[in-house]
């Protein structure tokens, strides 16, 4: 892990990061002209999810193994709000995100009391509880999920049934979430978070309220994961158990590791790779999982910093 830490961005000298961000934004703005928009929307939702997860592990050093609960909770909450209560899309997304934030606060208060593997296990246990709640709760429809979620009209004006309007919304949500994380990471808050990651006891002795910072990072991560989940539900018009299942928590770990832990752009690239594999290799059926496993092993053995981490090392600047 220490190799990653050396690369953590320092204050000042972000020109290359601005260029990289511009490249990424241009990519997602232009890609729908050649690629399938729904696929790209899925990539952006998962990229935001992975970025949120990376905020916690990459900068806070907290490995959550239960992030699916935030993706799933926001999904179910916004789907229910949009379908049953007839919320317009912007409020449905906000409501879903708020539910995840609340869940993040409650689970965070419990989980951040422990570090390392205990933290991971507590988040996993909590996520499993949440999963079984969704499996049994009548409003989620069990295995069926909440289907036919209406996309509605954004601000009462923009009909989201048009693929381009929907794309613009997802694009805005993704870029907004990404910039928020970027800002948080480079703020004094982010610096304290990194200090806690490096040496919690020292940060505590310096007078920082460690638990408060950890909780804040945890809730922020949960909220943004929720934002991704709520947006994804509107894209697919469906909230399902897949989003709350523990394999989803594992998948986001894989995305972040593959792209580059603790890098700004790594999670986005990781999400792009994993989702592309799932999408374009779907014909080979269950072999996708095997291919993913092999890639993961190769990644861990040969480029442990992930795609973007290695790239950053190559150009000598953190990305």
């Amino acid at each position: 892990m220490s190799a990653v830490h050396e690369l953590a961005p320092r204050a000042g000298g972000f020109a290359h990061q601005r260029i990289a961000a511009a490249v990424m934004i241009a990519f997602f703005a232009l890609a729908p002209l050649v690629a399938y928009p729904v696929f790209l929307m899925k990539v952006m939702c998962f990229a935001l999810f992975a970025c949120a997860f990376n905020l916690l592990i990459g900068y806070g050093g907290l490995l959550s193994f239960g992030h699916a609960m935030f993706l799933g909770t926001a999904g179910y909450a916004s789907a229910h709000a949009a379908k049953v209560w007839g919320f317009p899309p912007e409020f449905a997304i906000l409501f879903g995100t708020a539910c995840s934030a609340l869940l993040g606060l409650v689970t965070g208060l419990l989980a951040i009391r422990r570090q390392g593997i205990y933290f991971a296990m507590i988040t996993l246990a909590l996520a499993q509880m949440v999963y079984f709640f969704y499996l049994q709760a009548p409003f989620t429809g069990g295995e069926d999920g909440i289907q036919a979620v209406p996309r509605g009209k954004l601000f009462g004006l923009l009909d989201l049934d048009s693929v381009w309007a929907m794309y613009a919304l997802v694009f805005a949500v993704f870029v907004g979430g990404f910039l928020l994380i970027h800002r948080a990471v480079h703020s004094p808050f982010g610096q304290v978070l990194k200090a806690i990651r490096e040496n919690e006891a020292r940060a505590l002795s310096l007078g920082y309220d460690v638990n408060r910072y950890k909780l804040l990072a945890y809730v922020l991560s949960a909220t943004l994961a929720g934002l991704a989940g709520a947006t994804k539900v509107l894209v697919f018009e469906l909230a399902s158990l897949t989003d709350a299942h523990w394999t989803m928590s594992g998948e986001v770990v894989l995305m972040v590791l593959l792209g580059g832990l603790g890098t700004v752009f790594g999670p986005v690239v990781g999400a792009l790779i994993i989702i592309s594999m799932e999408n374009y290799l779907a014909q080979i059926g269950s072999w996708v999982t095997v291919v993913q496993g092999v890639i993961f092993v190769i990644c861990v053995l040969t480029f442990r910093r992930g795609v973007i981490g290695e790239l950053g090392r190559l150009i000598g600047k953190p990305l």
Binding site: L135, E143, D144, G145, Q147, F236, D243, A282
Partner: protein, 400 residues
């Protein structure tokens, strides 16, 4: 026939093609078989459904119309299924999706298909809601449904003395619909339901559910599940000595492949309802032999036969219409009478329900079986007009 071979070689006669191109999108009719290719329902539909689809296309006199076939695995997950469907319709220009076992996935695709104005032919999924409150002008439910299973099997069992029931139900759209429809039949015939327990889809361990069922002392333990879940439950029930203890199992949805997997030893005496059995007449036997030859010796289930039959009728409608606009083809399919070697003559109702006879079957004893896949005795034939839910009771908004 010349055209049989030409379909996949993609060499239609230029003249015929130019005629067809007028209304057929991209000049190709694209059929997508979406099924469970790897999990508990893969023997019911799966690769066999693709074989059946290929045979249906090959057997149809397409007269130069170009027909292509795609297939994919929906993993029994509604989110996976609906995103494949969306991509098929948007990017791959698929005109019709066929099969789709697992009602939760089928309901999701029912929705996407309607939104995109394409066509959806359900063979594998069972929920009677597909022609009830979720009915759509773009969907036809071909092979069977939960109401028909409940009506066939439930009636027969209650009338032969099985009047107290306990349900073991797969906890999703299909299981719940099957339980609901069967319970209604049991109650209508004066029976009673002592209790019910729900298990997750693709469960491995049924012991706690079976023990609860045993403790209920119900005469009949109704298995409102399918495929691997049903066979697991039946096998484990044998280990608990449930049948020896005087209770009977009622598999509410059992397929030929399940009986094959269980073996006649364990399955003998089971009574259930199907709409297709390979050993009905010369035509079904001929189809089954050809099918088995192409499907590594496995005989067709009713779902796979339904895929064949539904595609045949679909192509007939496309030919009659000289176009493949989803909504129009489905309307045409409802207009034309159905007639094919497997399900015989029938009709498609306004709510999307295809009507054909159903058969109440009993599994043979090992001593009665004369050869491979000789598993069923037909106890009764339920005529088409009685086999399915009356039009007025479904609550389909298309029926006025």
């Amino acid at each position: 026939m010349f055209s049989n071979r030409s379909i996949f070689a993609a060499a239609p006669l230029a003249v015929a093609a130019s005629l067809a191109q007028a209304q057929i999108s991209d000049g190709v009719v694209k059929i997508g078989v979406l099924s469970d290719m790897s999990s508990l329902y893969s023997d019911i539909g799966g690769g066999g459904s693709v074989v059946a689809a290929r045979m249906a296309i090959a057997d149809f006199p397409t007269k130069g119309m170009k027909v292509e076939l795609l297939s994919a695995d929906h993993l029994n997950k509604p989110d996976v299924g609906s995103s494949i469907a969306r991509q098929w319709y948007d990017v791959d220009k698929v005109d019709v999706i066929v099969d789709v076992p697992t009602s939760s996935v089928a309901l999701a695709i029912n929705q996407v298909t309607r939104e995109k104005g394409k066509a959806f032919l359900v063979s594998g999924a069972a929920s009677s809601d597909l022609t009830g409150k979720a009915c759509s002008p773009n969907t036809i439910h071909w092979t069977y449904d939960t109401w028909m299973l409940a009506n066939g099997t439930g009636n027969a069992i209650v009338k032969t003395g099985g009047d107290s029931w306990y349900f073991i139900t797969a906890d999703y759209a299909f299981g719940l619909a099957l339980e609901r429809d069967t319970e209604a039949v049991v109650l209508k015939n004066g029976g009673k339901v002592l209790g019910k327990v729900r298990h997750p889809l693709n469960a491995q361990d049924f012991s706690s559910f079976l023990l609860q069922a045993q403790a209920s002392k119900a005469k009949i333990i109704g298995l409102a599940n399918a495929g691997g879940d049903t066979t697991n439950a039946i096998k484990q029930a044998a280990e608990f000595g449930i049948v020896k203890g005087g209770q009977n199992l009622a598999g509410l949805l059992v397929f030929l492949s399940d009986i094959h997997g269980l073996g006649l030893d364990k399955a003998q005496g089971l009574i259930f309802t199907e709409t297709f059995y390979w050993d009905l007449n010369d035509q079904t036997r001929g189809f089954a032999r050809r099918f088995a030859a192409a499907n590594s010796g496995k005989y067709p289930t009713m779902v796979q036969a339904g895929v064949y039959s539904a595609i045949t009728h679909y192509l007939k409608a496309v030919t009659a219409l000289k176009g493949d606009d989803g909504t129009k083809v489905i309307a045409k399919m409802k207009e034309l009478p159905t007639d094919d070697p497997l399900f015989g003559k029938g009709t498609v109702r306004i709510d999307g329900r295809a009507l054909h006879p159903a058969y109440l079957v009993e599994v043979k004893k090992p001593s009665e079986s004369k050869g491979p896949y000789d598993y069923y005795k037909i106890r009764a034939t339920i005529p088409a007009d009685q086999a399915f839910r009356p039009l007025s009771e479904g609550g389909c908004p298309l029926v006025k």
